[in-house]
Symmetry: C2
Subunit: 130 residues, 2 copies
Amino acid sequence: MNIDPGSHVPIYLQIADAVRAAVATGVYQPGEPLPSLRAMAVEVHVNPNTVQRAYDELQQEGLVGSQRGRGVFVADRGTSVARLAAEVGVRRGLEEAVRAAQRAGMEPSQVRDLFGAVLDRMIQEGRQSS
Amino acid sequence: MNIDPGSHVPIYLQIADAVRAAVATGVYQPGEPLPSLRAMAVEVHVNPNTVQRAYDELQQEGLVGSQRGRGVFVADRGTSVARLAAEVGVRRGLEEAVRAAQRAGMEPSQVRDLFGAVLDRMIQEGRQSS
DNA sequence: ACGACTGCATTAGTTATCTAATGCAGTTTA
DNA sequence: TAAACTGCATTAGATAACTAATGCAGTCGT
């Protein structure tokens, strides 16, 4: 769980993103509990409320369910929800890119080339990390 | 110059984006003056300072140059600077998309498919608007 | 029952961000 | 030279966002 407090993206979002990724990749599986608010808070050096806010986010997405006094658990459909959320994130980035291209009157072929380059780098780094 | 005051993206950025796009597409050409702070302020129903902030942004990018008492003018290299900025915007969106895909362990082929779909829509809408 | 663990609600403070009000300083033109 | 235009600097205010402090309420194991 890598959190950068100096980043301009809010801590609670970093936590939510990390958990979402962990669920999507099966690190946390349906039915399993997430680290408790306080445990996660200690690990990330942050206030439990900040973790709660992150978990709230995930609960609203239907990725986890909370049971007062017991814990927060990955929902049955959690894995697929996480993967769908990831796809939405990807789509959002792509659409932003396309909008930027349209605004500047950029040719589709140029965008295609750029995408090819970026995706190739993704594959490279993906191979490195495995 | 379409500005949405209800948007969560700051007005001064909306203005900067719009001007950048206009320069990139040749609506404003090198050497030509931009609308004065106050003129633009009236058009967008906003305080001149907000326009100034937008123009500051553009000046820092080297897209325009300002002459106290005379006006703000599109820089000689303004067009290419605007196009480069657009490319950076596109690249940023693409990288965000790729990061999101990596976090969720998504396959490159899936990302490629998604990109194809989004780009096709871009081409469709581009043809409509012409 | 009691202690130790859970999630949660309320409140508050801090900070950053965005926008506006106002007045100064330079340029141009009649 | 005076009026009308330019950009710009300073200040202030308002708002929203993020994080933390604190205490309550539920569950579980001994």
